[in-house]
């Protein structure tokens, strides 16, 4: 009996000892340096990029240039899961902990995070003239530049250039033209799976992006120039009805309501769609024979518009932010500057076709040769439409998502949805 008690006591002691040993090994002193050497380790929470494992290369390059700084990467999901990324960042940042030093965030979150006091102002670390003014505007809240620009993205029209050539159709400039072309091609092609137009209709952030493009191309906007609700405008209702018509008239499959970026892209690169709205990343995927059945058959153009209006492209793109609570700000800012430098942006542009926020990058001859597609998109990105730049944007987005999804799935009438959105927006913007 005594021996049994002894063994139990021994086991308990071992367990206590083990748990004490495996505690936090990365203890840091208050001056931000690790306790065992002169190396500072910063935590970088970054979104997943498609294609090349860009982070490893860039981190290596940075660490070579800065031997006293080490970067630890926390991988977040791809931008299509923006709702989850947002929730992850919000949970980490509001806890007040200093686990994240540098992170990537959607352009629409910058005002929100700045208002919450989670971002370090970047005004003094950046030469604003080197960037597109529209981008700087979108990242400035309360007069302070709250993020380091990374890439800009916009929605664009992908089309099957082989099918357009086959039926001698021009690239459409208006929605009516596009629908007419698509209908004709679909009826004459012998592919029962071929859809006319696929986009993203899932009840998620991307639905608002698609909506902003349809709305902008009708001459409308979510908020007017005074920041008040514009949902009672005729363009707003016209847009809702147009989107509903796309699924009602089978121009787009009903499953578009479950699509975010990747599922819709798959339909297009499988050869089952004539027209496709998506971000710039689709270009490189469509040229990759491992993922695409339409290599060399794809063309890109600005999205069509309603007669008499100009094309609208939602400004997207993730940016770099330095956490205000970071205990290693010097190292973090250095890293953010590196990531936003001309060299890094050139790297992103040539390897991942991420459109730079520095116009000078597009003038690079090497890039123009390697990726003429990107340089041709300069026009699209110069004229991007920002979603409402407001700390309340996530709330606005949720309201829009619920109601637009309701219209598309026939649970609310377009008129009622527009009225509901208007009421909610007025409440949020305190009209």
């Amino acid at each position: 009996m005594k021996l049994k008690k002894f063994y139990i006591l021994l086991l308990v002691c071992m367990m206590i000892a083990l748990s004490a040993c495996s505690s936090d090994q990365s203890s840091t002193n208050t001056d931000g340096k690790d306790s065992n050497s002169n190396v500072t380790t910063i935590n970088f929470a970054a979104i997943k990029t498609f294609g090349v494992d860009s982070w490893k290369e860039l981190i290596n390059k940075f660490e070579q240039q800065n031997p006293t700084i080490k970067v630890k990467l926390t991988q977040m999901p791809a931008p299509a899961k923006s709702t989850e990324i947002h929730q992850y960042l919000v949970t980490s940042l509001q806890s007040g902990q200093s686990d994240i030093d540098v992170f990537t965030g959607d352009v629409v979150w910058v005002p929100e995070f700045a208002a919450a006091g989670w971002t370090e102002p970047m005004d003094q670390y950046v030469n604003k003239d080197e960037y597109y003014p529209g981008v700087i505007d979108a990242l400035t809240y309360n007069g302070k530049l709250s993020a380091m620009p990374w890439y800009v993205d916009g929605g664009m029209l992908y089309y099957r250039k082989d099918l357009l050539e086959k039926y001698n159709k021009p690239v459409p400039k208006t929605w009516d033209d596009m629908l007419a072309t698509a209908k004709e091609i679909q009826s004459k092609e012998n592919n029962p799976k071929l859809q006319q137009f696929v986009w993203q209709g899932k009840q998620a952030e991307v639905l608002v992006c698609d909506f902003v493009e349809f709305l902008g191309s009708a001459g409308g906007s979510i908020l007017n120039t005074q920041g008040k609700s514009n949902a009672d405008s005729p363009e707003f209702l016209k847009t809702l009805k147009f989107m509903k018509k796309l699924t009602d008239d089978k121009i787009s499959p009903k499953s578009v309501l479950t699509f975010d970026e990747e599922p819709s892209r798959t339909v297009f690169t499988d050869g089952n769609a004539i027209f496709h709205r998506n971000w710039s990343y689709v270009w490189s995927v469509a040229q990759d024979p491992k993922q695409s059945k339409v290599v060399d058959k794809v063309g890109v153009a600005p999205l069509p518009s309603f007669d008499g209006n100009s094309s609208s492209s939602t400004m997207g793109g993730y940016q770099f932010m330095v956490a205000k609570n970071s205990k290693k700000k010097d190292a973090a800012i250095k890293f953010a500057q590196f990531l936003s430098s001309k060299e890094s942006q050139l790297y992103f542009a040539s390897e991942l076709a991420f459109s730079p926020t520095r116009p000078s990058v597009l003038e690079d001859k090497g890039l123009q040769q390697k990726n003429p597609f990107l340089t041709g998109l300069d026009k699209v990105f110069q004229g991007t439409t920002a979603r409402p730049v407001s700390p309340d944007y996530p709330k606005l987005s949720l309201v829009l998502q619920s109601n637009i999804s309701g219209v598309l799935s026939n649970s609310i009438k377009a008129d009622d949805a527009a009225k509901q959105i208007d009421t909610e927006l007025k409440k949020i913007t305190k009209q």
Partner: protein, 319 residues
């Protein structure tokens, strides 16, 4: 009055009369309470404190993007009653709970009856039946997301191939079928759990009762309705209680499978509270929702326990 213990299910113990002994505050009792103290403390810290703090938070206007907060009393709750999306989420939660628990109980009962019979390979079957329950919900939700996919899902493929339907159904994209898809996935996952609990109850029924019934000439159906089912009611009710409380708080299945869509048709209380707190940053509003949820769950538990007691008394009285 002596009560004959005819089955060993825990519910029966609820109605057994306790012998009335003198309640002296003696040393063994004190030591007993002392042993309980650590667990009670942990329960308070982990369970009671967050509950009270959430309730407290719901009376302010805390928002992640605003600095400072003010006491606003019951205004959050008032706003919730005017929020159509909250009402939709509330309705969806009850529908999800009621239908999935009902289906899981019925199917669980059938499966438990089958598993109670002796047949070759019964041990293997019992193990296999548990696999859906063992797979983490997040993983199985992803799996179902693909199965229900309108263009590439295997469900549509099989249904069209066998001619049951003539074109793909947009399971997760139509408001009419999305909730059904969610319930279906939940039933697939949790029926084994119900079956297991009911099976335990079945095995507690003494075989001498069936022998007596055979001698009396009762057929299988009468045996089921007069012996099996009444004696199973305590187990079924426990399974239903546990399951209903879990189903009411469902989150991971909905979050991964549909994200609450399309058009909020699968939005439930927990997912709506989560979005409100972390996407919209309305912490106090989310706290109010969570508090209402806690109250609802509590009421549900009380009602079910009351029904359980009533049912058990009826069985005892009938002997």
């Amino acid at each position: 009055m002596e009560k004959q213990v005819i089955s060993s299910t825990p519910a029966n113990l609820l109605v057994v009369e306790k012998p009335k002994t003198k309640r002296k505050f003696n040393k063994p009792m004190m030591i007993g309470y002392l042993f309980l103290l650590p667990s009670l403390l942990i329960l308070c810290v982990v369970g009671i404190y967050p509950l009270i703090q959430t309730l407290y938070l719901s009376f302010f206007d805390v928002s992640l993007t605003k600095q400072g907060s003010h006491f606003i009393g019951l205004e959050n709750y008032k706003n919730l009653f005017n929020d159509i999306w909250f009402k939709v989420a509330y309705k969806n939660t009850w529908i999800f709970t009621a239908i999935s628990v009902l289906m899981e109980s019925l199917l669980g009962l059938v499966i438990a009856l089958v598993l109670n019979k002796k047949f070759k390979g019964r041990g293997w079957v019992r193990a296999c039946v548990l696999i859906p329950w063992a797979i983490p919900t997040v993983v199985s939700a992803r799996m179902w997301e693909w199965i229900f996919n309108a263009e590439y899902g295997i469900l549509n493929f099989l249904l069209v191939k066998t001619g049951i339907i003539d074109s793909n159904v947009n399971w997760l994209g139509e408001t009419s079928t999305a909730m059904f898809a969610a319930i279906f996935s939940d039933v697939w996952k949790t029926t084994p759990f119900m079956a297991l609990i009911i099976l335990a109850g079945l095995q507690g029924i003494s075989s001498s009762l069936y022998e007596a019934a055979d001698i009396d000439g009762a057929n299988k159906w009468r045996q089921f309705s007069y012996i099996t089912f009444p004696l199973l009611i305590p187990s079924i009710m426990i399974a239903v209680l546990l399951r209903a409380l879990d189903a009411f708080r469902v989150f991971d299945l909905i979050f991964v499978l549909t994200g609450g869509g399309p058009a909020n048709s699968t939005e439930v209380l927990s997912s709506y509270a989560y979005k409100t707190t972390f996407s919209a940053g309305e912490v106090s509003s989310g706290a109010a929702m969570s508090s209402l949820m806690a109250v609802s769950v509590f009421v549900l538990a009380i009602v079910l326990l009351f029904l359980m007691n009533k049912a058990s008394e009826k069985i005892e009285g009938g002997k």
